[in-house]
């Protein structure tokens, strides 16, 4: 009688097959996006005024002779036609070679490998803290009557609108300069991570809480919540066992986007807190027109973004079985 009760074995097998196909489609998409990002970056960077060869020799102020410049152009393949340069760059990328930094004269992959850890730690910590704040805020604002709802909504809106540079300055002014609790410069200690994390997490938490609160309110009106209450479930049980899971669904799908937002936010935050990381590396590289580093950072961020999207998709499918079943239907 139930759909799929007869011959559940083939159904199981085809579910596994669908999972693999889903992964292959995602993988193909990821490769396409990486190629597109590499191409865009390659050409966009030619639009930055200035001679790359000069950048190699230390910028426009280097006063390098024509011979030296020619030598550099030849060494770096900059004298070749643009199409050949492009294909060379793609070929190097395929072998995993991101090139050598113009300014620092070290392989870009080594440089990024050393920097990405700090940025990822910062971004993931901020994501987790933002989730925590958003969960607490939305649960409190939907459960505490009209005043809490209004206050909660106000907090969400304000924090979502805060720019990172301003928030960072204010946090430093309060917690470092006035209270002296936390260092104004991000050191390697856990205490050094607190202020940069808060700077990134607070505006994101505002966004996430807005989405969660809305779904939470919708869910709390659903008939299955009445059913759960009629079983004798407590208010806390209603939220923990039923409503929060529904409310987290849209926030999960937003998290992929959120990580991209956090990494771009890291450029500002790492600079303000003098914290080593991808963001600061990128900023310096752009100032020095260090093309290989810029390309490397952009590709790396794109890769992280793609991985995160796949992860959030998988997490959504895990949290919401209806997504898995929906694909089975015509």
């Amino acid at each position: 009688m139930t759909p799929g009760s007869a011959g559940s074995r083939p159904a199981q097998r085809s579910r596994g097959f669908r999972g693999i196909r889903w992964l292959l489609v995602r993988l193909g998409g990821a490769i396409f996006v990486l190629w597109a990002v590499a191409t865009l970056t390659f050409f966009a960077i030619r639009l930055i005024p200035g001679d790359p060869a000069e950048a190699v020799l230390g910028g426009p102020g280097s006063q390098a002779s024509q011979e030296t410049l020619d030598q550099v152009r030849q060494d770096y393949g900059l004298d070749l036609p643009l199409a050949v340069q492009y294909l060379n760059a793609l070929g190097r990328l395929l072998t995993g070679d991101l090139g050598t930094s113009y300014a620092l004269k070290v392989p870009v992959s080594d440089l990024l490998g050393a920097q990405i850890g700090g940025t990822l730690v910062l971004a993931f910590t901020a994501l987790c803290v933002a989730w925590l704040i958003a969960l607490l805020l939305s649960v409190w604002s939907t459960g505490g009557g009209r005043v809490a709802a209004a206050v909660g909504q106000g907090i969400e809106l304000t924090s979502a609108a805060l720019p990172h540079f301003w928030l960072a300055t204010v946090l430093i002014a309060i917690f470092s300069s006035t209270l002296g609790w936390l260092p104004p410069v991000s050191t390697a200690t856990p205490a050094g991570l607190v202020l940069p994390t808060l700077t990134l997490a607070i505006p994101l938490a505002g966004f996430l809480a807005q989405v969660m609160r809305e779904t939470l309110l919708d869910t709390l009106d659903a008939p299955f919540i009445v059913s759960a209450r009629a079983r004798g479930e407590s208010e806390r049980g209603i939220r923990l066992r039923h409503a929060l899971r529904h409310a987290s669904l849209p926030a999960i799908s937003l998290s992929g986007w959120a990580l991209g937002y956090l990494i771009s936010g890291a450029v500002v935050v790492e600079t303000i807190f003098a914290r080593p990381g991808l963001g600061r590396t990128l900023l310096q590289a752009v100032t020095l027109r260090d093309v290989p580093i810029v390309t490397g950072v952009v590709l790396l961020v794109a890769l992280v973004y793609i991985i995160m999207t796949v992860v959030t998709d998988a997490a959504s499918r895990l949290a919401d079985p209806r997504l898995r079943n929906a694909e089975a239907q015509p």
Binding site: T2, S5, A11, P223, S227, A230, R322
Partner: protein, 539 residues
């Protein structure tokens, strides 16, 4: 004064939201092993009454009563903590449509197990075996598999069984069922009512809430008729049905279409439906307006293609109603979409007035489309939410030939709506008004045929009666032909001249409505006839 077997005792129950009192001074009782039904239209306060008995009247409500006791416990001053102990253990609640009344993200085993976890010291292992036992007792075919499934993975009937299992998990003395069968097919509805009757026979008191007297008459011992927050009439089910005192009760009884002959109005004291002016429906010589020949449609599915419509043929004559009846999933709506040429058929063809219709290219078909109108179950989602009624009707009437256009006023008048409705948006209309607007929209293009796909399934019986009467009248006045699709055999029988019974995509029986239903040849038709809710059973 209270009899020893009285389970639920309510005196002077009032519920208000702000300044509006939605339930006024209600008094009734339910005894052990008794089923009491509260019947009334939407908005009569019956659901609020049911929920206030669980302390769940909702945010912003004020509930007062002089007596409120369940199984001897006084609940007039119960705290939230007391209520939580009562809910689930002393009173179980079954709501409409388990698809949304069970958490769609949680397996039903967990949902049912929650009741045991909250109120009993059972270990996880024992709770699991108790859940399996419960599912078996409500007639779940494969409990071991069912506990891992979610409400969306079960059919309508099975998930409703699961919902009932969760409500009776602790064998509460009182079960409240709020429209427990409203979203279900008639045959499944009959099985769920059997299940509730079974629960009742084990000594559980049941408070059954419904808008449909026919449904409750099958199992209720007593009926309370509710209107505007008050009980206007109450009594033994059979006496109340035989000798209703109130006009409102008579309206509810009269609205039940089952066994009402064709063209007899369902609203009492209404004008009789005029005799057809264009063609007699008995006239076998009336021209065929629409014909379906060997329609076939399949949908891709993971294993093998699912054949939704399998070699379906029928003809529809001018001024006639052809009823298409069958359970959900039988392919009725797919037939409607093929007839309206909204989906291409894999095989077969639809002919309009003897000429090609479904096989035309869309550009050639467009001028003909106005001749085939449609009315849907969920009319609200078929309207542009930003358009007001005037826009909706004007847009539709521009499809009609220039010389032959209705004004908005005429259209509203034809469907019995006041001219003031023209300025309203569909969202602000009642369900019955919306369905009238949807009929007016269908009329506006001056169609010959109207495909009515479950046009009254979302309406209360009293509103359903008004809409059916309206469709009957319009047909007689305008010589319209209806392809009338419904899962409700009572409605089909009342509305149709001829019927086609569908099962698994095929028409299993077809013929004159009276002949098919009085002397069904196919066992499936016989089953449908037996399951249709009717009042006469109680008499």
């Amino acid at each position: 004064m209270t009899a020893p077997d009285t389970l639920l005792e309510v005196e002077g129950l009032s519920v208000s939201f702000g300044d509006t009192e939605v339930v006024r001074n209600l008094s009734f009782h339910v005894s052990r092993g008794e089923c009491v039904a509260i019947v009334g239209e939407s908005g009569s306060g019956k659901s609020v009454t049911a929920r206030s008995l669980l302390g769940l009247a909702g945010r912003g409500s004020r509930v007062t009563s002089s007596t409120l006791s369940v199984a001897g416990r006084d609940l007039t001053a119960a705290s939230e903590r007391d209520w939580r102990r009562i809910r689930g253990s002393q009173i179980g609640l079954v709501l409409q449509d388990a698809l949304v009344s069970l958490d769609p993200l949680r397996p039903i085993g967990r949902e049912i197990g929650d009741v045991l976890r909250l109120h009993s010291p059972l270990s996880a292992e024992n709770a699991r075996s108790r859940v399996l036992e419960l599912l078996a007792s409500v007639g779940m075919p494969n409990p071991e598999r069912a506990i891992t499934q979610r409400s969306g993975e079960l059919s309508g009937g099975l998930r409703q069984r699961a919902l009932i299992a969760s409500a009776i998990a602790l064998d509460p003395p009182l079960l409240i069922a709020d429209e427990p069968t409203t979203a279900l097919d008639v045959s499944i509805q009959a099985r769920i009512l059997d299940l509730l009757a079974d629960v009742k026979s084990r000594g559980t008191g049941i408070l059954l809430i419904s808008h449909d007297l026919a449904v409750v008459s099958a199992i209720a011992d007593r009926v309370l008729v509710m209107k505007g927050g008050r009980i206007v009439e109450s009594g033994n089910t059979q006496e109340l049905l035989a000798l209703p005192r109130e006009e409102y009760t008579r309206r509810l009884i009269s609205a039940v279409p089952t066994d009402k002959p064709r063209r007899v109005p369902l609203v009492p004291d209404a004008m009789p439906v005029p005799a057809p002016t264009v063609h007699s429906t008995q006239d076998a010589m009336a021209p065929v307006v629409l014909e379906a020949r060997g329609l076939t449609k399949s949908f891709p599915s993971p294993s093998s293609p699912f054949l939704a419509v399998d070699d379906v043929s029928f003809t529809l004559r001018r001024g006639e109603t052809l009823g298409l009846v069958g359970e959900s999933g039988s392919g009725k709506t797919t037939v409607a979409r093929l007839v309206l040429a909204l989906a291409p058929a894999d095989g077969g063809a639809v002919l309009l007035e003897g000429g090609a219709f479904s096989e035309l290219r869309e550009r050639d078909r467009r001028p003909l489309r106005r001749k085939v109108g449609a009315i849907y179950q969920d009319s609200l989602s078929s309207f542009d939410p930003r358009a007001d009624v005037r826009r909706i009707l004007t847009d539709a009437s521009e499809l009609a030939p220039k010389a032959d256009r209705h004004s908005v006023g005429e259209l509203l008048d034809a469907v019995g709506l006041s001219p003031a409705v023209a300025k309203a948006r569909p969202l602000h209309l009642s369900g019955g008004q919306r369905q009238r607007v949807s009929i007016a929209r269908a009329l506006a293009a001056r169609p010959d045929v109207i495909v009515c796909d479950e046009p009254v399934s979302a309406l209360d019986v009293t509103i359903q009666a008004q809409v059916l009467d309206l469709l009957d009248r319009l047909q007689a006045e305008r010589g319209l032909s209806y392809l009338f699709i419904s899962h409700d055999l009572g409605v089909i029988r009342h509305m149709s001249d001829r019927v086609a019974v569908m099962k698994n995509g095929r028409i299993v029986e077809t013929g004159d409505a009276a002949r098919v239903f009085d002397h069904p040849q196919h066992p499936y038709t016989a089953q449908l006839v037996a399951d249709a809710p009717r009042l006469v059973d109680a008499l």
